[in-house]
């Protein structure tokens, strides 16, 4: 019995560590790459895609500028279609296919804005610098 308990404990630790490692790694090369674009009237626009998670996951944007977060859905039926931004108290169930504009005021465009899906499975970050 003693031996089987040791084997089972070892096996469990390995599996759980494996699962944690899988969940915590970043998806292939999605580092802080995307930089927001600016329209002629001075509003900056951030484009992200929601389907089985958000991409890009990290966006760098200018701080203190009125911003529009434009989320496109393409046959998105998973959790990422219900977007939540806790800091803004914002939640919206986006249509399965289409684009949704989320306005972020200049005052809110500070620091790091964390967005995620309603169940918390997928997340993304906007870093205002």
């Amino acid at each position: 019995m003693q031996k089987s308990i040791l084997v089972s404990a070892g096996l469990s630790v390995l599996l759980i560590m494996g699962a944690v490692w899988f969940v915590s790694i970043e998806r292939g090369g999605s580092g802080p790459a995307q930089v927001a674009s600016t329209t002629p009237d001075g509003t900056q626009v951030i484009d992200i895609t929601a389907k089985g998670g958000y991409s890009p996951r990290v966006i760098i944007a200018k701080a203190g500028v009125p911003t529009i977060l434009r989320v496109s859905t393409r046959g998105t039926f998973d959790c990422s279609s219900s977007i939540v931004i806790p800091k803004l108290g914002f939640q919206k169930f986006m249509p399965p296919t289409g684009t949704t504009d989320i306005p972020i005021s200049a005052k809110d465009a500070q620091g790091t804005l964390q967005g995620l899906c309603a169940m918390g499975m997928y997340n993304f970050q906007i870093r205002f610098e």
Binding site: S12, L15, F22, V23, G53, R57, C79, Q114, G120
Partner: protein, 338 residues
Amino acid sequence: MTTHTFHVRGMHCKACTVLICDTFTELPHVEGAEVSLATHEVRVTGDFEGSPSEIAAQLSKLIEGHGYSLSLEREAHEANWGDFAYAVPIAAALIFGFVLLQKAGLTSLIGSGTVTYGTAFLIGVIASVSSCLAIVGGLVLSLSANSAKEGGTWRTQALFHAGRLGGFFLLGGVVGMVGNSLHLGLTANIALGILVGLVMLVLGVNLLDVFPAMRRFQVSLPAFFSRGVNAGAKKDHYLAPALVGIGTFFLPCGFTQSMQLYALSTGSFTQGALTMLVFALGTLPVLALLSFGSLNIAQRSWNGIFFKTAGLIVVALAVLNIGNSLVTAGVIAPFINF
């Protein structure tokens, strides 16, 4: 006139106490009956003949059909810690498999074209093995394994699924016709997520069967809910699982919510109802496997390992759900990304 106290096996909700109580008081020679869910005991007063064990056997026969039995002695409690040697690695392997499945990118199977009933079915199938499995599947597993453990029958499980399918059909139709979503707000969603997480936590710890004291916190529908105005207690007993099935329509599951949004856009009762029904049918194979599987395994000799494995998985999913709800509330930073 004598009073006897017996131990009841197989009781799991308030409706059970009502059903047992009514069955006994209907007997001409029984004066009164009192059933306690907390202690799993029944006190009957009346003109009985024979020894206490004969009376127990007689009364037991009347309620056997509903999955209960009476005994003189309280059943001895054994934690069976040895089962964990198998349950822990099996549970860890299944959780690992679940994580791998999330990473497999199943959502890319869904095209961006128009939603046909075929697509709705496919989305249902994908939903049943993805993030929704954490909440809906976890709830089904914990409820059915608990029900199987307490001697529940296939009827309870079948009623749950019938309620779920019927509820999705009707509510889908209502959403389509009214053109208004039945979505809950952000705060309500977070509260519901935490509540479901806590229910799963209690049910999961119950399945582990290591703290007998936890039985007192058993999740049960309040008595006023189970005791309908006109309907008899026997019917109510079957109503509870069906109501829980209908209730799954409101569970915070991303797929269900976006399907509701689609049903809403159809603008017709028939289309909305059929879309939601087909979606629910897509989720049925996995959910039915969970509930009827646990019922089947509950009768095997190694059921102890199964209940402990299920308990560990349910507890893990409960912690995941509560954690995710706190993330959504902005209380803690995101700790996972599937």
